[in-house]
Symmetry: C2
Subunit: 177 residues, 2 copies
DNA sequence: AAAATACGTCAATAGTGCTGACGTAATTTC
DNA sequence: GAAATTACGTCAGCACTATTGACGTATTTT
């Protein structure tokens, strides 16, 4: 067939490579890695009729219990309307609850329920397993290096958001039973 | 308000942390890193009325000139119908051309045009800049470590696809200028 | 009292993905 | 040589996530 309805431009037959000074190897690896990284939880989410958006909300509500809707929007960098449906579903299914803000009663603080925490853990488990497998014969040094690299890939202005949850919680009570 | 239309379950007020044996730090970093990593090209694509799907197709057509539609589907792990619309647009806008397969004339080999190559490079440039910045005071050892980590994050069955384009092309002619 | 804020919601649209089905040309198999 | 299979294109319909704009309400700030 070789469609010639358009004034066909000449095909380039050589592959783009790193010689152009562009780091195609890592660009491509990052694509594959992230795709497979998200594929594990995606399968679990399908059972609940949830999507990746629900995962993200659930993750951050578990990571920063009590954050407000506005804070969540800021972290996810999506619009209020995009969040609305997803959040509503998570609340309706009993994974997340809203509490009136203590100082400002207009705010809704978001908290996971036991059900929501369990799902968040179930979703994170295969991802964590994958990470551990990828780091299997790596020491703490290598691990730190990976973390530094990933952090450096984030826009500088947004790095503040990342460190909101310290590696080790300093709070006293460590459970909710 | 504190909506109580549903039999509100108890909120959990403590943050999920790495103590559960789950690597939340890297999970979260990966999310932020990938989001910002894709945000640069997304802005450029918007000028063309293209989306992330166009970027992926353009990338792989440039990386593996002459791949067939079936091969592309296999790499991207999407369906024929999903690809159709995107590929058609890239062909109509003169970024990609189809050539009849040499051995099998049913196949369409996909090649970038000069225009398509230029766009692929323009899209990759900010991503590569970000990677270089993240690796600024890193040596070849660290770089290799990052690559190994990312590759290890990919499903083993799919790693074959990655190495189709070697780091250095062994072909003779090394450019199309 | 007026303005600004936090949130919820309605309506419309876009981009990307999906499944199922059908058609055509070319190749392979019997 | 006829039949089955393959590679690809396409049509129709659906789902999810995200977008923008607008409006309403409760609450806090000015």
């Amino acid at each position: 067939m070789t469609d010639r309805s358009h004034p066909t431009a000449k095909p380039i037959r050589t592959a783009i490579t790193d010689e152009d000074g562009i780091d195609f190897a890592i660009i491509e690896l990052f694509f594959f890695a992230y795709r497979d990284f998200t594929s594990d939880p995606d399968q679990i989410l399908a059972d609940y009729g949830f999507g990746r958006a629900h995962h993200r909300v659930l993750h951050f509500v578990n990571r920063r219990p009590g954050l407000t809707v506005a804070e969540l929007l800021d972290v996810l960098k999506i619009t209020k309307q995009s969040l609305a449906r997803v959040l509503k579903q998570l609340i309706d299914t009993g994974h997340v609850v809203q509490l009136q803000g203590p100082r400002d009663r207009r705010q809704r603080e978001l908290y996971p329920t036991a059900k929501g925490r369990a799902l968040a853990l179930a979703l994170a488990r295969p991802q964590s397993r994958r990470i551990h497998a990828a780091l299997e014969d790596s020491g703490a040094t290598e691990r730190a290096l990976i973390e530094r690299f990933l952090e450096a890939m984030v826009n500088p202005e947004l790095r503040a958001q990342i460190d909101i949850v310290p590696a080790k919680m300093s709070g006293k009570s460590h459970g909710d039973h």
